[in-house]
Each structure stands twice: as C-alpha cells, then as structure tokens.
Amino acid sequence: MRRTALRMVILVLLVAGVVTPRIGAGPRETLLRFPSWQQDEPGVSGWWKDQIATFERTHPGVRIEFTKIPLAEHTDKLIAQFAANQPPQIVHVPAQTFFPFADRGWLEPLDRLLDETEVKKTYHPLQAKECVWKGTTYCVLMLNYGYAWVYNEKLLKAAGKSVPRTVEEYIDTLKAMTDAKNGQYGMGIVTLPGFNMVAHIAVFVYGAGGRWTDDKGNPAVTTPQVIQGFKWWKEAVLGATPIGQESGRLRQLVMEGKVASYNDGPWMQGFALRANPDVKPHLRAAPIPFKFTMGGPSNIVAIPKAIPEEEKRLVWEFIKSGTMKDAQVRYSVAVGAPAPRQDITIPSEARKDLPFFDVYVDAAKRAVSWVPFGLETRSNEFIRIVAEHAQRMIVRNEPVERVVQDLQKELETLKRQ
C-alpha cells in the first residue's frame, strides 16, 4: 500500500515537471533578444543573419533571437519594454529616436569599451556626434546615409523627360509621369503619419536649406527655407503621388512599375533587386536636385543598462564583431552604401552588383542630418506634430505659411515641456 502511494507521488512529481528538468538537462542557454525592423529588409538582413550565425558558432550556449518589429511601431514598443524593465538585450533603433533612451538613463555607457576598439579612430565623425549624449557615448553607429532619387528610366522617357537638374524640373517631371486615373504616379511619397512621412518631408525641407531647429536648438519652422521646402513637398504630393500609402507599399509599387520613382536611402537597392523582371532593368538612381541632401545617421546599436553584466559582455562582443574591418566591408556591400568605418575599401567586383553605389556614396558625403537638435529627446512627439500639421496642407489644402505658424507654436510648447 505504502509502495503504491510512493509510486503515485513520484508519478505526480514527474507529470508536474518537478523531476524531469533535472534528468538530462544540459547547460542553460543564454538568450539575447534582438528586435529590429531590418529583420526581413533585403540586403542588410542577410548581413545581420551572418553576424548572428558566426556569433552563435563562436559562443556555444548563446542564442540570438532576431525578430521583426515594423519601423512604424519599433521605438514605441522598445520604450514600453524599457519602461517595464524588460528591455531586449540588443538595442537597435533609428538614430533619430536614440536620444529618448539615452536621456532616460536606460543605456550602458560605452566609452570605456570603445577605447579598446578602433571605432573612435576609424568611424565616420557622426559616431562622435550622434551617439553621444551629455558627454557620454551610448551607442555605435551602424550607417550614415544620404537620400537619392530612384527612378524608372522607361517611364521617365515615356513621359518625354530626362533626369531633372533643377527643383522645378524635378517637380515638373514627377507630374509628367503621373496619370492618376489609370493608377500611374510619378513618385511615391509617404503620407501616412509616422517616421517615414516626416523623413520624406525632410527631403524637401532640408533640400531647400531649411532646418527644424536653429543653432540653439529652438524650433525654426517659419524660415523662408522651411516654407519653400513644405511648398515643394505639397506640390509633389498633390500632383504626383498616391495618397495614404506607407513606405513598404510604395516601394512595392515602384517594383511593379505603378510608381515611377521614390526618394530613399541606400537600402532601396536591396528592394530594387527584387523588382518585377520587366521593371528591374529600368531602375536607376540619381541625386535629388536640391541644394542639400537629407540624410545623416541611419541606425544605431546599444546595450541596456538594466541587463545582467554577463549579458552586457556578450552583447558588446556581438556589437564589436560588427565593427571589424571584414564585417564592415561585408556591411557596405550588403547595404550598398559606405559603412561607418572609413578605413575600408569595397572590392571592385562587389561594386559591379551595386549599380547605385556611387550615387549613394556621393549622397552620404553631402548629407545633412535631419535630427531635430534641441527636441531630440521628444522625437516621437516631434514626428507626430510635424506629420499632423503637414497633413493639414494636403488634406485641407491649407496654406503652408499659416500651418507653419501653428507648427512653430506647438513645437515651442513641446520644447518648454
């Protein structure tokens, strides 16, 4: 009777899983979570996956979980995870939205670690500017870039146009390639509020020589240059773009030949390689004919302060592996643009596969950062406010001059908060 009872107890313990984990359990696996919008982005996702595979091979018992969060909701989700004290171990964010994380003291200072590497000596000067907050370095720059105009040469010629050299020619060309009734548009411009909508506005505003803020970090959106930029943007949107589309859809429409052109960073090359067979041979890139080229730092990686020291060490090793010369060469080939490390050379055979490479190298050299300095710690609200006001210009057709006055007031309120 007692033996039966004992058997029953052992059985219950086994079923409950109290005993089973002890039998045949191997060493515990360390999991490093790595959410990113680049998880399925052509080109760069392959580089990340290679880096992860190499790291896991050289670090048995460590697994990197590379998952997708769309760019539009990426920063919000990460901030929510930090707030809940559950940050991912590998922090990857657009450079524009890095500052709220640094300002809240959520990131590990990296200066001591960076001193052991060649990053400070060999990286693009933006590393020292965009990854530093209040004198401390908190991140490693992944890419600096400039925007270029990717266009369909066949559609351009069909409209009787050549590559535009002036802003006027540019907008005129976009309109000429548009036939809205038949679903054909001259250019894709993101008009759904969010990060990409404001990035596309910045192409025009910064192209005209405008800046979101002045040298002291105060909002400066009523300058003639900003007004001019908004006017060009409004004209292009109302005359040449399918309204209400987000970036992924617009890139797809370019690849299907329904949208003739798109302003984008070097990652567009990866998408272009996936274009429909009848469209792919006709895709070209050219500089956007503005006085200035919008761009700057693209994205960064960092380590959260709140994770255990051992995990911090592992994440740093992962980040460091990406700063090495060979990794940076592969990165440059994967994204089709210059990597942040300046002392590398791209093999000439690789350049043959990157038809837009030289255009993007040139764009990156000339690029002006569109980070709203002075408002950088409120980047989420900044983006929402700018997008909402810009919508008034196209949805209600309100005059640019009037809307920027309201925009200035609202940004000043944001600055005071």
Binding site: I79, K181, E388
Partner: protein
C-alpha cells in the same frame, strides 16, 4: 449597556461571522476564492493603479517608479485640451453612427431570418460571417477596398461614372470617419442579428395569435408586441455594443491610425497615443478614467432599460 459590553459587540459579530463560515458556507467561499482572487489581481489592481497614476505626474510608469505627490494637474490639463473635446466628439459621433446603423441592419436581418424560406440556414451563416472574421483581417480587406489610389470602391465608382476623381476615403477628414464607421457597422451588425433573432424566437406565438384576433395589422403587431418583447434583449445588445464601440481600437488604428488630423481619434486612440507614443501615462490614465465614467453612466442607463419587464 456598559462600555465593556459595547466593546465586545464587534468581536461577537466577528465570531458569529466566523461561525457561519463553517459547513456549506465555508465550502462556498472556498470555491469562490480563486475567482475572487483572480478578479482582484487582473481587474482591481490595474484599475486602482490607473486611478492612482491619473492623479500623479507620471511619464513612463513601472511598479518600481518613485511616485510624485498627488495632483489634479492631469485632469485640469485634460479638460483644457481641445484634443480631448475633439476626441470626445469623435467618440460620440462614431458610437452613434455605428450603433444606429448596426442596430437597424441587425434588426432587419433578424426579422428576415426569423421567417422560413429556402436557404435560410445558409443565409444565417452568411449574415453572421463578418462577426467571425478577425478584426485585423477584416480591416486590411476594407483598407484594400477603400484605398484612395488603388481601391476597389473607387475603381467601381469611376467605372460607373459616379465619381470623376478618386475619393480619398481614408485620408480626408469626413470620409475617414464614415469609413471607420462603415467597417465597424459591418463587423458589429451580426451581433444584433444573433441577439435579436434569439429574442424573436422566444416571443410566444400566443401573443401574435391574440393580437391577430383583435385585428392588429403588421405595424401594430410589431409596435405593440415585437418591440416591447425585445426591449430587454435590445437594451442588453445595445449596451454591449456601445461599450465595445466606445473602446474600439483595432479597426480605427489599423485603418486610419486616428487620422487624418485627428478626424478619427476617439478617446481610446487618444489614450493609447498619450500612453505609448507620447509616454504621458498619468495623463493617459486620466483619459481612461473619464472613459470609464462615461461607460458606467451608459451601462446604468441601458441596464435600467433592460430591467423593465414586458411579460
């Protein structure tokens, strides 16, 4: 009665209550305990936390965050914010439009499906189909239909010559609210159909026979028998739908994100935006509290209506 007797009274009452816990009562409380505890953890704790932070200046809340002093600042700011009144107006308009049409369509469908005809089973299945479709899937299909540049609706209307230019169903302020309401109606009417059909089938045939003998026509029968008999079901279905639509998030967020220019920003969307985009969780909690109060008032009204007996 002496002072010591008075002091003993509460102790005696407590002892009496403990005695009552023996036997079947104790067993009943024991069975209820897990449910009560779960309710306390998953409902009461979040609500109490929301009430608490709505009275504090909290940007990003976590249980370990040091809390500042109590303040009415969030509520003062809320009632002074034009965006709050705009969101309230949008919420009310959205609820009224969506519920009215969903109720009318649902009622009509229920009356139709209450009759015997060939293919009734198939018709019943089709009528409730929208209810079964996951909201995100439904909204994405509707997004494709309403897409201003490549949408099916614009294409049909252009082919028929009804419109000369594509209409921006989602990106113009007026059509955007109509569009989110349309999707909500499509998703919501089957609930009314199911509830009212059940209600219709529960009305005794004797009542209809009696009014027929009295010479009542179809309109009279509907007005004096069907409608009053359905009052309870109608109130309950309306109450539940009002509460669902009032805090609807998925349809609006996926279709318009609350835009353009806040034209479809309801209180639910505003709460989310303030909490998880602007990270003003104290302020967002204050919006949530106002929403809760409105929901409670609506619930009391409809529950009273539902409580009125017909039979």
């Amino acid at each position: 009665m002496s002072t010591s007797d008075q002091a003993l009274q509460p102790a005696a009452r407590a002892a009496g209550w403990l005695r009552s816990l023996r036997g079947p009562a104790a067993f009943a409380y024991l069975l209820l305990a897990p449910a009560v505890l779960t309710l306390a953890v998953v409902v009461l704790y979040p609500v109490m936390t929301a009430v608490d932070i709505s009275f504090r200046r909290v940007e990003i809340y976590s249980p370990s965050t040091a809390r500042g002093p109590l303040t009415l600042a969030n509520y003062v700011r809320l009632f002074e914010a034009p965006a709050f009144w705009q969101a309230t107006r949008v919420s009310i308009a959205y609820v009224i439009i969506s519920i009215s049409f969903a109720l009318l369509i649902g009622f009509g469908t229920a009356l139709l499906l209450n009759h015997r005809f060939r293919g009734r089973t198939l018709a019943r299945t089709l009528a409730v189909l929208p209810w079964a479709v996951p909201p995100v899937v439904a909204v994405n299909v509707w997004w494709w239909i309403l897409d201003p540049s490549y949408g099916l609706l614009n294409w049909i209307l252009l082919q028929l010559g009804v419109i000369a230019q594509p209409v921006n169903w989602i990106t113009q302020t007026g059509p955007a609210l109509a569009s989110v309401s349309l999707v909500t109606i499509w998703k919501g009417y089957p609930f009314f159909t199911v509830m009212l059909l059940a209600g219709l089938q529960a009305i005794p045939q004797d009542l209809y026979d009696a009014v027929a003998v009295d010479g009542a026509g179809r309109v009279g029968t509907f007005r004096h028998i069907t409608l009053p008999a359905l009052r309870g079901v109608l109130s309950l279905a309306t109450l539940l739908s009002v509460l669902w639509v009032f805090r609807e998030f998925t349809i609006i967020w996926v279709l318009t994100g609350g835009g353009p220019i806040r034209a479809t920003e309801t209180l639910a969307i505003m709460t989310y935006r303030e909490a998880f985009a602007n990270f003003r969780m104290g302020f967002a909690a204050a919006i949530g509290m106002v929403t809760l109060v409105i929901s409670i008032v609506a619930s009391i009204f409809f529950i009273r209506q539902a409580g009125k007996e017909f039979y």
